[in-house]
C-alpha cells in the first residue's frame, strides 16, 4: 500500500526528542493501519447481504478456473501413469510356429531399446479371451483358434516417451514374422493435445474471470467512495494525504478478496467431496489410476493471497479513478 509518513515540520528540537517522536509517529502509523483494517472489516459486516453477494460472485469466479486447473493436473497424472506402463502389443503372423515365435521373442528381447518381452502363445490367448470376453459359446463354433501368437514388448524407462515408443513400434513392425503392431499412442497423443488445449482455455478463462473480479470489486469500491464522499472531502480539507484517504478503501478491497477466496476454497472442497465418489467408481470401471486432485493447503493459501491481491488491485483502480477526482472545491457561502 502506498505510504506517506507524516513529516514533522517544526524545527529546532532536540535530537533525542525528535527520535522518540519519530518512534511515536511510526507506532501511531501502525496503530492507524490496524484501526483502518478493523474498521473497513466492520463496515463489511454491517452490510452483510451486500458483502456476501460480492463474496459469492468473487468466489464463483475464482473457483471455476481453479477447478479446471485441478482437473487438468489430474489428467496429466493419467497420461504419466500410462507412460510408465507403456507396452507394445506385437501380433505375429498366423503361419508362425511356437518355436519360431520363441526365437523371435529372444531376438526382440536382446535389443537395447527393449526392457522386457512376454510371449503369449495363441492357446493361452484364446483361453484368456474365452474367460474375459463372455463370448465362450460363440468361440465353440469356430473350427480353429483365430488368434495369433503375441509378444508384449515393454520399452525401457528411458524409451517411454511418445516418440520413443512410436519409433520402437515401427521397427518391430518391420521385422519378418510380425503381422501388426498396436500401441495406444493414439489416445495418449489425443489426451496430450486436449490437455494442452484445455490448459490454454483455462488460462484464458482465468484471465477473463480475474478481470471480472477486479471489475466487481472496483464497482463495489466506487459505490463505497460515493457513499463516503463527505468524509473524503473533510479529510482532504484537514490535510489528509492521498494515501490516508485511499487506505480504508484498499483495505476494503483486500477484505472482499479474502472473503471471495474463502468462498472459492469452500466451493472447491464441496464439489470435490461431491464428485470424488462417482469419479472413483468411474476410474475403477476403466482400470484407470485417475483421481481428482484436491487443493493442497499451500495451494489454498496461495489462492487466498491471490484473491486478496485481486481485491486490492480492483480497489486501487477504483480509488485511482474516482477518489483522486474528489477535491474540496466549493465550500459554503459563495
Amino acid at each position: 500500500m502506498a505510504t506517506e509518513p507524516t513529516r514533522p515540520r517544526q524545527q529546532g528540537r532536540g535530537a533525542a526528542q525528535s527520535r522518540s517522536e519519530a518512534r511515536d509517529v511510526a507506532g501511531s502509523y501502525l496503530a492507524h493501519h490496524r484501526k483502518v483494517a478493523r474498521e473497513s472489516g466492520r463496515r463489511l459486516w454491517q452490510a452483510p447481504v451486500a458483502s456476501l453477494m460480492t463474496w459469492l460472485v468473487m468466489g464463483v469466479a475464482m473457483a471455476m478456473p481453479v477447478a479446471l486447473l485441478l482437473l487438468l493436473t489430474s489428467l496429466e497424472g493419467v497420461s504419466a501413469g500410462w507412460e510408465s506402463s507403456a507396452r507394445i502389443t506385437t501380433y505375429l503372423t498366423d503361419n508362425l510356429s511356437l518355436e519360431q515365435a520363441q526365437a523371435l521373442r529372444l531376438e526382440v528381447g536382446s535389443r537395447g531399446d527393449v526392457d522386457d518381452v512376454e510371449l503369449i502363445d495363441r492357446d493361452s490367448a484364446l483361453a484368456e479371451f474365452r474367460a474375459t470376453s463372455g463370448l465362450a459359446d460363440a468361440l465353440d463354433y469356430l473350427d480353429e483358434n483365430p488368434l495369433p501368437h503375441t509378444l508384449l514388448v515393454t520399452p525401457p524407462e528411458t524409451g517411454r516417451t511418445a516418440a520413443g515408443v512410436e519409433r520402437l513400434a515401427a521397427e518391430l513392425e518391420a521385422l519378418p514374422g510380425v503381422a501388426r503392431v498396436q500401441v495406444d499412442l493414439g489416445w495418449l497423443q489425443r489426451l496430450n493435445v486436449m490437455t494442452q488445449l484445455l490448459a490454454r482455455a483455462v488460462w484464458v478463462l482465468a484471465l477473463l474471470l480475474g478481470c471480472a473480479v477486479i471489475l466487481v470489486i472496483g464497482n463495489t469500491i466506487r459505490l463505497a467512495i460515493e457513499n463516503r464522499r463527505d468524509e473524503i472531502l473533510v479529510v482532504k480539507l484537514v490535510g489528509g494525504t492521498d494515501a490516508f484517504v485511499r487506505r480504508p478503501f484498499l483495505y476494503t478491497g483486500v477484505w472482499f478478496g479474502l472473503g471471495g477466496g474463502l468462498v472459492a476454497w469452500f466451493l472447491l472442497e464441496l464439489s470435490l467431496w461431491w464428485l470424488s465418489g462417482p469419479i472413483e467408481r468411474l476410474a475403477a470401471l476403466y482400470h484407470s489410476n485417475f483421481a481428482l486432485s484436491g487443493l493442497p493447503l499451500d495451494g489454498a493459501l496461495a489462492l487466498l493471497v491471490f484473491a486478496m491481491l485481486l481485491g486490492w488491485l480492483g480497489a486501487w483502480l477504483a480509488v485511482k479513478r474516482h477518489l483522486d477526482a474528489i477535491e474540496p472545491g466549493v465550500p459554503a457561502g459563495s
Binding site: 507506532g27 496503530a31 492507524h32 468524509e231 473533510v234 482532504k236 480539507l237 484537514v238 459554503a332 457561502g333
Partner: protein, 229 residues
C-alpha cells in the same frame, strides 16, 4: 503570514473572480474579508487553502510560495491552516470527539495524545461535556463551535473562516467572533469572510473589502497603488 501579490483568479476564460489583489496579513493579526455576494471572498480563501490556484500573481503563506506547490505537498500545507465553514462540514456518522480528532488522526498523532488535545480544543469552545454526542443532536451554534474546535485542534498558525456566522442569530454570532478574537490573542492569524457588515463594524478590526473581485479597501499601500492603475 499571508501575502497576495497581484493575484488574479479567472474561472474559465471569461469570468474573473479576483483582479490583481494585493494585501499582507501579519502573524497574529485578525482581519475581516467582506463584500457583496459573488465579490470573490470564498475564492480568496480557497487560494490560501490551495483549493484553487491563481491565474496570475503570487500567494505566499507562512513564507512559502503556493503557486507551484506540487499536489502531493498540498496536505502538509493544509495541516497548518484551520478552516471553518458556514455549513461546518461535520460528519454525522461519528461523535463530536471523533469529528474534532480527525485533523490529528490525519497527521498521525499518537492515540494517547489525541484524547488530551481534543478535550483541550472542546474545552476552549465550551463543549467539553458533549464530546460523546452525535453532532446532529447539537444546536446550530454548537455545531459551529465543534467546527471551530476541529479547525484549531492541531494549533495551526492560521485560521480561515468562510461565513462562520451565516446561519446564526446575532447573539450567537457575537459569541463566535469573540472566540476568534481569543485565538488571535494567542498569536493565531485569523481571516474571516463575512457579509455581516454590522457585526464587522462592532468588532472594529481591519477589514478587507472586495468589490467585483477588486480589493477596494483595507489592502496594503501597494494594493492601493495597484488599484489606481
Amino acid at each position: 503570514m499571508i501575502e497576495f501579490q497581484q493575484v488574479t483568479k479567472r474561472y474559465g476564460s471569461d469570468h474573473t473572480a479576483l483582479k490583481q489583489v494585493n494585501f499582507h496579513l501579519d502573524r497574529g493579526e485578525l482581519a475581516f474579508l467582506t463584500g457583496h455576494s459573488g465579490a470573490g471572498k470564498s475564492t480568496l480563501l480557497k487560494l490560501i487553502m490551495l483549493m484553487e490556484r491563481p491565474s496570475a500573481g503570487q500567494v505566499v503563506v507562512g513564507g512559502q510560495v503556493l503557486n507551484n506547490m506540487p499536489r502531493r505537498q498540498v496536505p502538509y500545507i493544509r495541516r497548518h491552516i484551520g478552516v471553518v465553514f458556514q455549513n461546518h462540514q461535520l460528519l454525522f456518522d461519528r461523535t463530536v470527539f471523533d469529528n474534532v480528532a480527525l485533523p490529528l488522526e490525519v497527521m498521525g498523532v499518537p492515540t494517547r495524545d489525541i484524547g488530551r488535545r481534543v478535550r483541550a480544543a472542546l474545552d476552549k469552545v465550551g463543549l467539553l461535556s458533549k464530546e460523546k454526542m452525535n453532532p446532529m443532536q447539537l444546536s446550530g451554534g454548537e455545531q459551529q463551535r465543534v467546527g471551530i474546535a476541529r479547525a484549531v485542534v492541531n494549533k495551526p498558525p492560521l485560521l480561515l473562516a468562510d461565513e462562520p456566522t451565516g446561519n446564526l442569530d446575532p447573539e450567537l454570532s457575537a459569541d463566535i467572533m469573540h472566540l476568534f478574537e481569543q485565538f488571535s490573542q494567542v498569536g493565531v492569524t485569523v481571516l474571516i469572510a463575512s457579509h455581516d457588515i454590522s457585526l464587522i463594524h462592532d468588532m472594529g478590526r481591519r477589514t478587507l473589502t472586495l468589490e467585483h473581485g477588486r480589493l477596494v479597501n483595507g489592502g496594503s499601500a501597494l494594493g492601493g497603488m495597484a488599484h489606481g492603475h
